[in-house]
Assembly symmetry: C2
Homo-oligomer: 210 residues x 2
DNA sequence: GCTAAAAGCTAGCACTTATAGCTTACGCTG
DNA sequence: CAGCGTAAGCTATAAGTGCTAGCTTTTAGC
């Protein structure tokens, strides 16, 4: 029996591709092994367990997603950057549903979990987009969370066929982006027009805590 | 052996409670049976399969969630109704993560699937909230999708510990609600200030298509 | 009190993840 | 080039899934 030339990375990429094709939930050691022309137990020479393999997929996917958003927003600012980032995320989800599902289900482990770094880089891409709106420091965290919630929510609802037919989903997505853009522009000019101590100046700590 | 007095509904509620306690993914026929002081195969006398049981949980949860939002928004309007609905959803997710996960993973089946009705009622509660902003018909669909995306995204990110520490999550949630409220109020007054044919008047069909 | 439906049980199948231990391929050093 | 050691593959197997088959027992209705 010649060797297959496997390796943690090769296994992870094969599993990620398979997850995109057939869904993350249908991923099993058997189908991954079949794809690699190998028997299931052999995979354990390269990977600790199925869950750790899915964790690796999440890290890979988060990195890829962060790169895609960074690339898409490169050289853009304001509403253009926002739209580019949003579309990059949505097309990633559309093209890689299995990878995205892995991201959603992932929870960072110890402090040296590579997922932490990948997540931070991904968040920084969004932060960079927001920086164009010149919000104050406290608001930027809120805005970042709002942005992530909206985009992630939209993508995952769309992924699970959560929107009934009747109105074009692309239109709704464009509408939402514009809604956010307008709100952020308005908030940048006249903040604090609301209920009161909402943005209670939470001291000056490091950025990118979304 | 005396009989346990089981029934599809009793099994579903026990499974839902267990899902909230230990997570939907950890739900198995064995643990449900144990909770009911019965052996696993006995459950099949009342329920078709584990997946159909989870589907039942989703129907139950969607109904409960719809009721909670309806009750919370009763007698309120505008921003108050929006905030009440949002908090109702978030507290539902916080108190019933397993049920909510079942909702997220559910996909309606045939046309007579009770999940359809439950989902519609739930959507109508959100629609009723939006009606206070007097958007035109086409925009209401977009706004409904945006609202669902934001709230669902926030809740599910929070559920999976997606927000790092650093800023209070409650503050961010309040901020997001106000952001949406302000945007909707502005949109109600001066619509169509944007890119152009975004809201291309999509004829007058029945409502609640989110 | 008898009959029959239905609720519970045990046994077992097919599938999963994962481990143990064997064999064989490959790369490095003498 | 020989041989040795590491590591990659394998088979066999354990433990735990969901689910079915078929049996026993309870319980409701006549």
């Amino acid at each position: 029996m010649p060797r297959a030339g496997l390796d943690a990375d090769v296994v992870t990429r094969a599993a990620a591709a398979l997850a995109d094709e057939t869904g993350l939930v249908n991923l099993s050691m058997n189908v991954i092994a079949e794809r690699l022309s190998v028997k299931a137990p052999s995979l354990y020479k390269h990977v600790d367990s199925l869950s750790s393999l899915i964790h690796r997929i999440a890290i890979l996917a988060t990195t890829e997603l962060g790169d895609a958003i960074r690339d898409a927003t490169q050289g853009r600012a304001g509403g253009d950057a926002l739209a580019a980032a949003a579309h990059a995320l949505r097309s990633f989800v559309g093209g890689h549903p299995g990878r995205y599902a892995a991201i959603l289900g992932a929870r960072p482990g110890g402090p040296d979990d590579p997922l932490h770094a990948a997540l931070s880089r991904s968040l920084n891409s969004f932060s960079a987009v927001l920086r164009g709106y010149q919000l104050d420091l406290a608001e930027e965290t809120h805005a970042l969370r709002m942005l992530r919630s909206s985009l992630h929510g939209f993508a995952s609802l769309e992924m699970s066929d959560g929107f009934q037919i009747g109105t074009d989903v692309d239109d709704s997505f464009a509408w939402m982006i514009q809604f956010i853009d307008q709100g952020l522009r308005a908030g940048g000019e006249s903040s604090n027009s609301g209920k009161g101590d909402r943005v209670a100046a939470r001291s000056v700590t490091g950025a990118s805590r979304g």
